[in-house]
């Protein structure tokens, strides 16, 4: 019993060191967002942009698309997420050209094309706000699993509220739905994933 103790002690410390190393490594090279294994083709859509013209998701093939669903009179989640994304855009510096943020509405009645476009651009000139009729938007919501419902009971100063799911979707340059993040994911994680994803691409 006495003789074996040093081996036991050494074994434990080694095991813990290995485990710590494993956690460190798996942290560094893996993607932090929730990964779609295997990546599934992102639902392609045509929605109305600020100038009334049609914007096609496919136009952004070859660039990373950050897709977020919200609405202009949204009190809390949407503005904070868009603010985070605008800070992210600044930190991307040279990679910013190959990343595009799309902001699709869940409140077509009130979010007319110019209203949502100017709202998105207020956060960052490169952001594109998209809207459309209910029939155009419903399939988009469904395919991205966006849950939305109008709460009539709790009216606020901005009229009725729309409660909606708050996931942020990352579409890779090949047009596949690759990662998704929950609300409140720190900006550095998204930045880390984008750098990892773009570095894999041949320059």
């Amino acid at each position: 019993m006495e003789k074996k103790f040093p081996w036991v002690a050494g074994g434990i410390l080694l095991l813990l060191a290995l485990a710590a190393g494993f956690v460190l490594v798996s942290r560094r090279d893996g993607y932090l967002g929730l990964r779609y294994e295997p990546p599934v083709p992102a639902y392609d859509f045509f929605l109305t942009g600020g100038d009334g013209g049609q914007v096609h998701l496919g136009d952004f093939r070859g660039r990373v698309v950050l897709l977020f669903f919200g609405y202009t009179s949204c009190p809390d989640i949407c503005p904070t997420t868009l603010a985070e994304l605008s800070l992210l855009a600044d930190e991307l510096d040279r990679l910013a050209l190959s990343v595009q943020v799309l902001y699709v509405t869940v409140d077509p009645q009130r979010d007319l094309p110019d209203k949502i476009a100017t709202y998105a651009r207020a956060f960052d000139p490169s952001f594109i706000g998209l809207t459309g009729s209910e029939e155009m938007l419903t399939p988009v919501w469904q395919s991205y699993g966006v849950y939305r419902s109008i709460d009539t009971e709790s009216p606020t100063a901005l009229g009725y509220l729309v409660s909606h799911s708050t996931r942020l979707y990352l579409i890779d340059p090949q047009g596949n739905l690759f990662l998704s993040y929950t609300y409140g994911t720190p900006r550095e994680d998204i930045l880390h994933d984008i750098r990892l994803l773009l570095r894999e691409l041949p320059e």
Partner: protein, 253 residues
Amino acid sequence: MKANKTNNPLRLGLWVFLLLALLTAVEFAFALWFGSWLLLLLAALAKAGLVLVYYMHIAKLFKVDESIDRESYGYKLATNRLGLWLFMVSDSFIFGGLMLSRLNLMGLTRPELDQALGLGVTSLLLVSSFFMNRAETSLAGGDRRAFLASAFITILLGIGFIIGVLGVEWQLAPFGPGDGPQGTVFYSMTGFHAFHVFTGIVFLVIIFRNGLRGRYSVEKHWAVEACAVYWHFVDVVWIFFYPALYLIGTVVP
């Protein structure tokens, strides 16, 4: 260096204590820099394994001589040991239930607690575990005076732990028993554990008093062994409760 009978196990007890202390520090570091619950679990399992093997002598449970006379002290001793371990398996289901409730109610968030105080009471319990082992090993080696001294120190440290938790921590905690899940989780887990520390102290006082009266000999001291194993069991419970309350995940205000 003449390795006589008594100081060999004593030295082992010391080494085990030092490793446990080191692992607690490692655990603290894991929480600060990695914040991964998996590492905390591994560290806790390692510490628990050490206590089970070296302090609680779990191996004795399986080294049993069936052939000796059924009425002999040795045979009854092995049966008593089995009974104690069955009791501890049963009692651990209560603490398992508390841990699952903690995870269900708070997930990977933890209550806002004073880290220094947490580390303080944990080291109190760890040191008491060392002295408990020293008491039992000294008695088994025939050194009655060292047994009595170590047992007394263990009692003091145990009382210190209870004062630390109930006296200090419960008063300083920024939430009451009824304030949200933190209150529920914190007070129920530390309460159930403190009760078991209290019964451990009662057990210690009894064996100390009988030890004073010379009731225990090198061959026959089952009560002391039982008290030691129970005390280490209560320490193992805290080995899992401490990270679950103080180290894991993110603080919820």
